[in-house]
Amino acid sequence: MGVVEDTEPPLKRVKRDETNGFSSASGNSSVRGSSSSSVTNSLGDLMARPLTTSQGDDETKTIGSKGVIKKSEFVRLITRTLYSLGYGKTGAMLEEESGIPLHHSFVETFLQQVKEGKWDESVVTLRRIGMLDEKDVKAASFLLLEQKFLELLRFDKVGDALATLRNEIEPLRINTKRVHELASSLIILPSTSGSGKENVSSRSKVLEELQNLLPASVVIPEKRLESLVENSLHIQRDACVFHNTLDSDLSLYSDHQCGKHQIPSQTVQILESHTDEVWFLQFSHNGRYLASSSKDQTAIIWEINADGHMSLKHKLVGHQKPVTAVLWSPDDRQVLTCGAEEDIRRWDVDSGECVHTYEKCGIGPISCGWYADGKGIIAGMTDRSICMWDLDGREMECWKGQRTQKVSDIAMTDDGKWLVSVCKDSVISLFDREASFERLIEEEDTITSFSLSNDNKYLLVNLINQEIRLWSIEGDPKIVTRYKGHKRSRFLIRSCFGGYKQGFIASGSEDSQVYIWHRSTGKLIVELPGHAGAVNCVSWSPTNLHMMASASDDGTIRIWGLDRFKPHKQEKQVQGSSSNGVLHQCNGN
């Protein structure tokens, strides 16, 4: 009790609420504003509302097991929602039964007056509400009087409108520009005005604007309950470790939990066409092909059929050395293969023919990549330099000196902005191609490989110490999460992003298993046995959330999918990972 609101900011809901509906009970009606003349009036108004005897308790009553929900706020929220859903009668009944009015009676009166267009009265009532600071009162009064002005103008009561402008609106001394505009509108007809600002908004629009203006405890925002529920759903979804489903499947009835069965964990196919260790594989951007490269000096392009089955499309023969990587062009029509310390070849996917060979006298490539626009090739060479060729083999640039390491990765982000490479044992260079400016990521240990996320904002880095680290590279590079559990001691192991919104990290391991972690929490969720040798590389399909491929020293490629026992509905392809459209899910119920 007592006058509290003058010094505290209006959004302090605690005190507000208590004075809101219940000051009437304590009979302390001097709470609003400072004029004592309002005392008798307010008492009269308040007496009209039915009060139950248990008033005093309700102020502090909480509900829910944790004691953080105030009963009065909870009930008011439900009442508000009932009204906005159109259930006026129920809302009114709730107010009566619970004895908890939705609004302080002045607020109620105020809103009613606005609805009925009783502007002068509403301005007066506004002042009586009391828990507002002067700035808000002025702004709200301006809104009300502006509406009064515009309505008068609508009905051609120009003289009255002018009087309102001069005597009521201008003296508020705010929003001078709008005052001038209103003055002009006195002679400019609404139908000819260009901006249409002079048109009268509906009263409900005014109500909406007032609600935004007034503090939440005075007038509860329109969709507050919906917003609270949505927040809760988002949190559940983010916490769902196996989350690999679409938003349309979220339900309010129980906390959301995907089961493990949404993660591809069953071998659905084994591809045995390579004759030696398979070192690298990658799905095409459109998810229709898989390319793999092997120590057997070949690369293979696999085609994915409508039923998800893979078949060999082309075997790319020509290299005389093990092929360390095979990379898709941005338009998926060509691939680059990198022969270890030998040369780089460009192949056409449709025909399987080698279109061009890129080599440099005396040195060989260690790693390679495509330009973001597909019109050039980059390569990290044995002499530690970085070379850039156009498609016809003309050398465009060559950065000499210690730019790369002996075994290293190189890549250009698909927006063409950054060139990423491992420039020293434990340092990654992010070179901004536009600004010619380099940022460094300094790791604690030797880096063996890296992988970029789709949105170019994150970098997954594999370290020699068996840790995988996720870095955010937008702005200053920062470590976001670490992933552990897999084994790596002698060989190069690669990891990748995958799943719904790239929410998972998958990696190979020297213990022959595939490891999958939940990206944001870092929690290891599955270990998949099956291969008979170290798993060197993993790739998750960019369009099929439930398809993953792994390449192993045992010479095979395994395709992983969902548990076959569950009815495998025809899964339509999804565009990237962001649409909530077409994909059907088996909910595993």
Binding site: R166, A183, S184
Partner: protein, 213 residues
Amino acid sequence: MDPRQFEHIVVKDSDIHSIVMSYLLHNCFGETADSLASTTGIKQPVIDRDNLQRRKQIMHFVLEKKALKAVELTEEFGQELLEKNKDLQFDLLCLHFVELVCDRKCKEALEFAKTSLAPFGEVQKYVGKLEDVMALLAYEDPEKSPMFYLLSSEYRQQVADNLNRTILEHTNHPSYTPMERLLQQVTVARQYLTEENGKDAFPPFSLKDYVKG
């Protein structure tokens, strides 16, 4: 010719008299012009007296806050005069509006604005000024509004000068006096020389300093 040798140029008295005379006639100083003529014996050029008197009266009305009267007399020179000079017409009408507002005749001002000023609002270049002018209506004390300059005598003088020139032009007289032109040219010439030779050689032309001697 070295610009510093300007003192060697010969200037005829009669030329100077002409310059002063044209200035007086331009600004409607009829009696002074007569006096100058009789003292110096110079012939008055062919600006007829009638024209001068009428202009004098019109300017007077503008300055004395009787813009509509000024418009009426101006139209006696020909309807097309203001029709062809819309900017000027607009300024004069705005002045009348301002007069009404100052006299606290708000209803009348509003009516006038609706009939006479609103049509100008459809042309983009007048919109800004129109908004400023209309805004005066919102204030109990127009003098205290941000657009108080519209009420000032300097502003009225500006409009009056503009009107004067337009009438002179319309009646086939020069709209700028030689005096003005000379001063403008001196200023520019000085500026040019300063840029060429540095500030010390030729300081910028200042009439005030010059008159002081």
